[in-house]
């Protein structure tokens, strides 16, 4: 029996153990990408992985510096980011508005839902040739392509967010005499936000998936263009620079959105 021990000391020791465990977990999270890169480096250098297809990360880094120094890389990044943001906003804003209308007014929902459901399965990329004919090979066609892909998860999640509001909150609003403006501002919009933000998060991921593909076809700049031309010229190190940039921005954006989400949804 340990009954002669000071109970606070016992619990403090327990707490320290838990802290250690937490720190271990953080360490694992941080070290996993480093471990991946190290493994890749070793396997590539020892030619277990064919270095022609999988050049070692250090070589990719070197290529990155060279491309960055020439200023070429920055142009590509700038162009792509511009298209991503433009397309993202052009998809999210109508997605939120139409989603809210669908959630709030059932006639609108019944009319719009079949249209959304029917168009959603068509990959926007499959329409790229038509989009290029209509909007040219400049930024606009990329922006439209991304917007088209981002729109769907946002509209569906926004409508679902409104529909998922506990009916007791609607009863409450009615019982306490909320007019439609107050109902929207105090109940419908904030109540729909959590699910809506999930949709926006999804839209962000889709925007990055789409930009690469959209820039591979009918484009003269951007990260996707860099990836595609490097691939065609078998400059795989350059191609990997492009891929890693996409991965980096994807990670960065989802961190930013998560942070924003936590801030907005403090009440959760």
């Amino acid at each position: 029996m340990a009954s002669d021990h000071n109970p606070v000391a016992v619990e403090r020791a327990e707490w320290k153990k838990r802290q250690m465990k937490e720190r271990m977990k953080q360490l694992l999270t941080v070290s996993s990408p480093i471990f991946m890169l190290l493994l890749w480096e070793v396997l590539s250098r020892t030619a277990v992985l064919d270095p022609r297809f999988f050049p070692p990360p250090t070589a990719i880094l070197e290529t990155f510096w060279n491309l960055a120094a020439s200023g070429e890389l920055l142009t590509h990044i700038g162009v792509s980011l511009y298209r991503i943001f433009g397309g993202f906003l052009l998809g999210v804003i109508p997605g939120v508005i139409i989603g809210l209308l669908m959630g709030l007014y059932s006639p609108i929902r019944h009319f719009v839902q079949p249209i959304v459901m029917a168009i959603m399965p068509i990959p926007t990329l499959a329409l790229l040739p038509i989009i290029i004919i209509l909007f040219g090979i400049g930024d606009l066609s990329k922006v439209v392509t991304i917007a088209g892909s981002v729109f769907f998860p946002v509209v569906i999640n926004t409508a679902a967010g409104v529909m998922n509001i506990d009916p007791i909150h609607m009863d409450l609003a009615k019982n306490y005499g909320a007019d439609s403006k107050d109902y929207f501002l105090k109940i419908a919009f904030p109540g729909a936000l959590p699910v809506m933000l999930e949709g926006i998060q999804m839209g962000q991921a889709i925007a990055l998936l789409t930009i690469v593909a959209a820039e591979m076809m009918g484009s003269v700049s951007g990260i996707g263009f860099l990836i595609w031309t490097s691939y065609k010229a078998f400059l795989l190190q350059e191609m990997y620079v492009g891929l890693i940039l996409i991965s980096f921005f994807g990670y960065l954006f989802s961190l930013l959105l998560r942070g924003l989400q936590r801030k907005i949804l403090r009440w959760r």
């Binding site: 009863d171 409450l172 009615k174 909320a178 105090k186 109540g191």
Partner: protein, 259 residues
Amino acid sequence: MKEDVKIRIRNLTKVFYQKGESVTALDNVTLDILDGEFVCLVGPSGCGKTTLLRILADLEQPSAGGYEIATEKEDRPLQSMVFQERGVIPWLTVRDNVAFGLEMRKLPKKVVKERTDYYLEKTGLMAFADRFPKELSGGMKQRVGIARAFANDPEILLMDEPFAALDEQNKFILQEELLQIWAETRKTVLFITHSIDEALLLSDRILLMSAQPGRISEEIRVAAPRPRAMEAIRADPDIAEQFVRVLKHLQDEVQRSRG
């Protein structure tokens, strides 16, 4: 007590009709509730208690018959409902929750703040005013619902099992708090409960409902003096007798609806 009728319900009938089947939730209910009276509605599950309350709350329309709520002041809302715990809006702070009705009525900021502060103080929520409901215990959340309804200063208050989800200790505390606030305002209250103890503690009058179709089949006057405390109520032999009467009624109704 003033003997004016506050809620006058006449031949109120509610039928729910769905897919060719109809359920008569309320059958020809006629009832007067006096000004300042605290009335509890007790009856077997599914007998139409919530339906009656929702009709008075204007959340449901009667199929036939009607009701009238006497108005004393023009600018007062007719009724406010105390919902169950889930009725607290999670994305509004405690203060905004309590102020909800006043805000909806677009009262001047000063009035909103005064009344909100008063009931935050009364319900012991002041320290939590700027927190979100997720940080509150179940009992605290229920206080938010009560403060919101009283702050709105309606002609009548409607409560549908507000304490059903609370543990017994919290229930006792909140029941007594409710009685204190009520004693100050002497609002007319219609309160639904499944707890006979609760009904005996709170009510001037208990209405017993029969199972489908829902009717008011009996009423019991609770004469115990106010202010009331649970200990006194529990020790009162008249109350003990009334407890058994309500219990028997409920058992008979359940038997009847099964048989």
